[in-house]
């Protein structure tokens, strides 16, 4: 997406890293001086980790009980930034691919963590794809830089944390009695997101509605195959208190989806159809909004651009996540004051979270006031 120009700029840095700019120049105004002279460089570390899911997780595409993640750190002058790559198998990344990618990263080429744009251009051009692995560097870098500036990212971005929206809790596809139990457990949420698209849609919604009257979002994960049936279902869902429908049909069918959006009583949100900033403008007129996830787009910087693009194009914004630790979910939460909806429950779907971060209070995202992305290691 970011073209040869940026790559050349990034290479320019690498070639000029000793002559072009010194650590001194970057630290003349700030109070983040080196603790020891031999500990002045940027250092990336990473460690594979396996998330244990509280419930077996079922989508239109399959079921699983664990998610592989990579936990990263970037350290600089005794300060550590935390990052994470979450790699649900259907997206194609793995412990092996992330290890291969992250092993190529040499942050000692850069004299200062503040060179975020150069560092991320370098990362972006190390290999194609690998968006979750790239996000794990982006998040750790943002955490580090926020800590060096002693500010949380929502404040650096000029956002008001009081505008963080309600967040949804996701109910996976299952048998009615299991859905009823899961729904009862989610009583603290103001919105539930119900996974549909496996042929038992009305049964799923009826099971949820038997125990709650909160607004529902639905995520079809491309599971519907016919636009006439889709709009009929959406009209029924609207009557059941559904407030948005995510990715109703396959992303390769934009004409069908535009047809649905133009007739739908509720907003139609792109998820699988949107990945990076260059996708956003193509979706105006087809969808009503976009679901932005750090693991899809490569991290916080791309996500911030996407939110701003979406707003300029009058598209609604959802900030979503994968099953993730509080690291990546709290990083995403920093953006949530700009979103119409948050779907930031990834850390609540696991039972071995190594971090403390985002909280949910009265169904609403509470962003920590800690600097950086706002987490602490437990």
């Amino acid at each position: 997406m970011n073209s040869r120009r940026n790559f050349l700029k990034a290479m320019g840095i690498m070639l000029g890293s000793t002559a072009g700019f010194s650590a001194f120049q970057y630290m003349s105004l700030a109070d983040y001086s080196a603790k020891t002279p031999d500990d002045a460089g940027l250092q990336l570390n990473f460690e594979p980790y396996e998330l244990q899911l509280r419930h077996v997780f079922t989508l239109a595409s399959g079921s699983r009980s664990t998610t592989p993640v990579m936990l990263t750190t970037i350290s600089y002058n005794g300060i550590t930034g935390y990052g994470e790559a979450s790699m649900p198998p259907y997206l194609g990344e793995s412990h092996a691919s992330a290890t291969e990618f992250l092993s190529k990263v040499n942050l000692s080429l850069f004299s200062s963590p503040f060179l975020i744009e150069d560092i991320l251009n370098y990362i972006d051009h190390l290999a194609p794809g690998n968006y979750a692995a790239k996000a794990s560097v982006d998040i750790a870098l943002h955490d580090l830089v926020g800590k060096l500036m002693k500010q949380p990212w929502h404040r650096i971005w000029g956002l008001n944390p009081d505008h963080a929206p309600n967040t949804s809790f996701t109910i996976g596809i299952d048998k009615p009695d299991v859905v009823v139990e899961k729904t009862k457990e989610a009583f603290a949420y103001g919105i539930l997101k119900i996974k549909l698209g496996r042929g038992n849609d009305r049964e799923m919604i009826r099971a949820v509605r038997s125990v709650t009257s909160v607004p529902l979002g639905v995520d079809v994960n491309q599971g519907w195959n016919n636009r006439d049936e889709a709009i009929e279902m959406i009209e029924w869902l609207d009557k059941q208190g559904v407030i948005y429908v995510e990715q109703p049909m396959n992303k390769t069918l934009p004409e069908d989806i535009a047809w649905i959006t133009s007739r739908s009583p509720v907003p139609i949100i792109a998820d699988e159809a949107v990945q990076v900033p260059s996708d956003v403008s193509k979706l105006a007129g087809i969808y009503s909004g976009i679901n932005i996830k750090l693991m899809k787009c490569g991290g916080m910087r791309a996500a911030f651009t996407m939110v701003n693009m979406a707003r300029a194009l009058n598209l609604k914004v959802m900030i979503g996540c994968m099953t993730e630790t509080s690291c990546a979910v709290t990083a995403a939460a920093q953006l949530s004051p700009m979103a119409d909806w948050a779907d930031l429950d990834g850390n609540l779907l696991i039972n071995n979270d190594p971090y403390d971060g985002i909280k949910i209070r009265d169904g609403k995202v509470i962003i920590p006031e800690r600097p950086g992305i706002g987490i602490e290691k437990l």
Copy 2:
């Protein structure tokens, strides 16, 4: 552009300014505590000022020897941020209109300058238009917040100041002997931007070329009326070492301009055709790039969004300015590491600049390392 949603959010703040969030909450982590208890609020001040131009300035639309500006400050806890509205008469703003607009602004509604998004939404909805007046608040607010974070904005934005591009010096339309004199004075610049569009285009270029061989940009300011003549002229200009053509025909003729862009050997840049973020995506496929100016779009925040949108859409980026003091020009320079070209000579066109800021060295933008926008009052 930013829709009802943001307006409602901004109003939410105003209504909830005492209950919603306290100064304490915002200052728990940062070292910007109040100097005195009775000096804790945000305070906007403004003062009309008249820029004296070094040379009578001639565009396709007319000539003038002064530019009215408004100099603003926002103070908070003893720290002052500087801003500016530059109001060349053809854009419709004036000392009177800016005074009327800025008199309506009540920043004491906001508990913290870090609430940039809320404050700018509030400003944006006080009245339509008034983009220069709005920019004068945006710039002062960014200067203040950068000073509170003790960082220059290029660093907060993660940019590398070494990537700041060459900047052009503008040569206005005039008689050949005057053009030759102005060109000789501009020997320090690596690019000259030549104003065309008043019927003496070849005469202008020949006068410049009689004394310099540096690359030239040309700015037609909508001055050409026929696309066949335009492309013929562009092909001639290409042979004279012209590297881009800005706004060749009227912005209301996108089909003619797309026709020119598809045939032009050099990039065609939108200026009059682009104002705010919502314009950017419409210009892909019509122009090769956009000229972003703080006074057109309302300030640094909108400009940063526009640069990122343009890059995602594979549009080239020029950062431009009006005749301005070093205040607004240096604010724009903070963005310049993301630009393909800078046209940041506004402060050099005047002889009563009250500030020290941006420097030009070997034709390249040098962004000061001072925090905020990087200026000091002289």
